[in-house]
């Protein structure tokens, strides 16, 4: 069963349903929050706004939901204007008049209503009879596998259960665009897996914007990614492409990939200090053009101190360690734009600290070189 097959339709939402696969274009400026961003969501696509806390994701979603009025901005849904705030005109409808749904990090289920009545809230608020609203709500609960929770009070639900009910409640409003603000961040790992699966199901063919700091959520749930950094979108594109071949150092950091900028050579890239690295070319950019090199941490090794002979064919470069952190069962070091993971055994013998110079061996077979489309900062 497709979860998009809404049960009993309430009259207010019929026009919005017909727009259900419309695309969204929006822009928003809020000077006080340093937000200045524009985005475009293809019809039926999910766009992930990927960025850390404080990067402006929530503010942008707040504007789209109609809860936060921007200093300037506008949004159109399939060509129909949602709002417009500009020197020429201010059209800012109340949020209840917008066909936009919002799911937050906290489920925020109304504590005085059962799970079923929470899901039925939208229908009741827009004039559907209690019986019809509950019947429809039950269908939506079924869509998120929460049918058995119908009579539960929100206080009796676990975090994952409550979030699934909240998803059903947001879907029941049949929004033309669904906004999700870190929907998995408040959940423990097991619950997140369950809710992520539910989201993957309901987001299929639905126009949605997902704000997340987690590259796993972005990669599993989103068709496209827009990377947010300090209130701005630094790069955007199809998820696979953005994560595999990042343009912005910040994207590379979020994606957990090494990224070095340099100049294209016949076999790879030449760095500012003259070091030449060999890699696989992802495009046919001319020699001498601006280029980027990316490599996953697994293909980078920190050369043991004392030894200087690189493995045959390996790329070798010297760099200064800029950061060290623990990562899963290893020590992750950042040096010269690259990331290397040291297993604990090695880390005990030679733990590089910030500021140390290290020699890195990079596997050319895992090194990808491609065109730099953003200007260097």
């Amino acid at each position: 069963m497709s979860t998009r097959d809404g049960p009993v339709t309430n009259p207010r939402r019929t026009t919005e349903r017909s727009r259900a696969t419309a695309g969204l274009t929006a822009s928003a400026v809020i000077a006080a929050r340093g937000l200045d961003a524009a985005l475009n969501v293809e019809p039926g696509h999910t766009l992930a706004l990927l960025g850390p806390n404080g990067s402006g994701k929530s503010s942008l979603l707040g504007v789209l939901a109609g809860l936060l009025r921007p200093d300037a901005g506008g949004a159109r849904l399939g060509g129909v204007e949602l709002f417009e705030v500009s020197p020429a005109a201010v059209r800012w409808p109340r949020p209840d008049q917008q066909p936009i749904g919002l799911l937050g990090q906290e489920p925020l289920l109304f504590p005085h209503l059962s799970a079923l009545d929470n899901v039925a809230f939208c229908a009741r608020a827009t004039g559907t009879t209690r019986l019809n609203a509950r019947e429809a709500a039950m269908t939506w609960l079924r869509a998120v596998d929460a049918e058995s929770l119908a009579q539960s009070r929100p206080a009796a639900l676990s975090g994952g259960q409550a979030q699934r009910v909240a998803i059903a409640r947001a879907l029941a409003a049949e929004p033309a665009v669904l906004l999700l603000d870190e929907p998995l961040a408040g959940l423990d790992i097991d619950a997140a897996v369950t809710v992520r699966a539910v989201l993957a199901k309901v987001l299929r063919d639905r126009t949605a914007v997902l704000a997340t700091h987690d590259v796993v959520d972005a990669s599993m749930l989103a068709d496209d990614i827009a990377v947010m950094h300090e209130g701005r979108i630094v790069e955007s594109g199809p998820t696979r492409e953005v994560l595999a071949r990042p343009q912005h150092p910040f994207t590379a950091r979020m994606a957990g990939r090494g990224l070095i900028r340099g100049m294209r050579t016949a076999t790879g890239i030449r760095l500012a200090d003259g070091t030449k690295l060999v890699g696989i070319s992802a495009d046919d950019a001319p020699v001498g053009s601006d280029a980027l090199l990316t490599v996953r941490p697994g293909a980078v090794r920190v050369a043991p101190t004392g030894s200087c002979a690189p493995p045959p064919n390996a790329n070798m470069l010297t760099a200064t360690v800029t950061a060290v952190e623990t990562h899963a069962e290893s020590l992750r070091i950042w040096a010269g734009g690259l990331i290397a993971d040291l297993d604990l055994e090695t880390a005990r013998d030679q733990a590089p600290a910030r500021g140390d110079a290290v020699t890195l061996h990079v596997d050319p077979a895992a090194t990808v070189v491609y065109r730099a489309t953003l200007r260097a900062e």
């Binding site: 809230f121 058995s148 009579q151 639900l157 676990s158």
Partner: protein
Amino acid sequence: MTLSPPALPGTPAVHRPDSRSPKSGYVPPWLPPIAVVGGLLILVPLVAMSTRVDWANFGALVTSPSSLAALALSLRTSLAATALCVVLGVPMAMVLARVDFPLKNLARTLVLVPLVLPPVVGGLALLYAFGKRGLLGGAMNVLGIDIAFSTTAVVLAQTFVALPFMVLTLESALRSRGARYEGVAATLGARRGYTFRHVTVPLMWPALIAGTVLCFARALGEFGATLTFAGSLEGVTRTVPLEIYLQREVDPDAAVALSLLLIAIALVIVGLAYRRPGSQSIW
């Protein structure tokens, strides 16, 4: 459809309070004795009064015509004042908690003034506003309304002193919870009126009950403002506190009996307002 949610794999149990936090007894040793002294300060006068009660004639004393008239009047006016506090206080608290406007802090301070003002001063202020020669007295004379020294004046005086309790209680409840649930309701297509009735009011219900009970108690005990603004006419403006004050000279036994009745009512009210049901409230 099952009533209880089945335990799903990987869903944690409902959050429990941290078991490491000390539950009882972790206070400085000198603190409980001081608390006991404070408790005695309240308890001793109450006990002292109950020793003076003429139990044999208690029934007759509290059912004398003047006592009954005072009781009936107190009940009527306090209920009316409480209703006014709900009608006026809910919008005031909502505006203070949810609407930004200039001089808001000044407005909030003004609302609290009756709380710290001596009630006699409040009564005088009301007199200069609504009395015959008051600020609004002339206009009201034209309309044929004469409020001062009437039962309406009693209700106004009681509302004046009780209203801050309602506004304070509701506003702090509204502010501590924020407007997030209302935001959710809006994105679900609920209009402002529907959201107010079906989200805001149910969520502030416990605070509304507490505020209502406090207002009723304050109205019932009102003395100074009532005496100044409404006078002391039997059956018209002489509420129980005024009756007690009057009888104190004439018939101390009647005063004590009525006082005990007020204490009993106060205990019931406080018990109602601060009752915690066996299971924690869902809010």
